[in-house]
Symmetry: C2
Subunit: 224 residues, 2 copies
């Protein structure tokens, strides 16, 4: 897949060697992140709000209550920035200065449009539910008229994006390698724990395979 | 501890029953989050950047290279919003509409000031390193003159803040409880995995206790 064009908006200026512009890497980070942080401007004031999302091609879907500040703002077509951050580990160097974290992050820019028709809305909501738990949309009760009317969906076309990735061991100053300080990486991972059944669940209802699978392979939101 | 005053800036408008304004809850979420997402405005364009942080009292410290966009912007005293999000689980309801996530999040507002003197800078950097790995500052080589000069530190006084917390099982519509759909919570946790020693580490250097402790108790950044 091609790269996102590098412009003043998405150019990574700090530590440019960590920058990645190829669409495939950017998409994979967006898809693995369970939430994103959406930034917008209201009365000169920057606001950052965490929310669930889903991606289809170059479109990011968000949803929310009809009158949420975030959704109203995005629906109106204002400029939006969204950040996706995966923490992969703590990098413990011999010097305080070279401490770091291993991470994969994406920052993207775009403008939103309301998703209006029932069909399109349902498809976007399906994408969001399936992003959180693949297989779930086909088991849960679908939205009814009232629920669909209460839910607003917005689509943000990705105009510009870049990823930033750090991996691997610490990089110390040459003379520090002799210091008697343990150095390396403490990997971190967002992992599912044992499922907790709803107190009102009949005991005859067992954990579905798609959730049991999560448990076996660790948590990875599904790819498109 | 007292509450943050509720103003138009920090009032939680969506799902106000999830809102928490008490300082202790807000502080604990900030301290447990390993990274935050900082939002600011540059040429009308909202920007969101993930970064490490530390809190002391009502002050949030960030650091970065002298010429980073984020740091330059905060140093200049512009309005800043920072979000901290802890994901605790996926809430699987019987209806698609009532799906959710369990989370603890904070959004705060403030303005930054540069931290200039060597002593103050070192104290802030110590707070950031100790936030990532408690005990580390006392083992790693401290910043030298050149490193200290290359690092910019900013302090943001928290002017307003609010937390939002969801926990517990799904809440379904009464008539949906009879549906044959598994419902409950899939808890999520950011957990340390086995440490990876730096390839250049002499085998005689063993993992320090403060990192081994992380492994036993799961990952929790230290409290103040």
């Amino acid at each position: 897949m091609s790269d996102y064009p590098i412009t003043s908006r998405n150019e990574v200026k700090r530590l440019p060697k960590r920058a990645v512009y190829d669409r495939d890497t950017v998409h994979r980070i967006i898809d693995e992140a369970l939430v994103c942080h959406v930034g917008f401007v209201q009365d000169q004031q920057p606001l950052v709000i965490p929310t669930l999302h889903a991606r289809r091609g170059e479109t990011l879907f968000l949803h929310g209550a009809k009158r949420s500040r975030l959704i109203e703002h995005v629906r109106a077509g204002n400029a939006v920035c969204a950040a996706f951050t995966l923490l992969d580990g703590i990098v413990l160097a011999r010097s305080a200065f070279h401490h770091s974290v291993n991470y994969r992050s994406v920052v993207l820019f775009g403008r939103g449009n309301p998703v209006e028709g029932d069909e399109d809305k349902l498809r976007a909501l399906e994408a969001i539910v399936e992003h959180v738990a693949k297989g779930r949309w086909h088991e849960a009760r679908r939205p009814n008229r009232k629920e669909l009317d209460a839910t607003a969906v917005v689509a943000i076309e990705i105009e510009a994006a870049s990823a930033k990735v750090r991996s691997g061991p610490p990089v110390d100053d040459e003379e520090d390698y002799q210091l008697p300080v343990w150095a390396g990486v403490l990997p971190l991972a967002l992992r599912p724990q044992s499922p907790i059944a709803d107190p009102r669940l009949p005991p005859s209802l067992h954990l579905p395979d798609y959730l049991a699978d999560y448990m076996g392979r660790g948590f990875r939101p599904p790819k498109e």
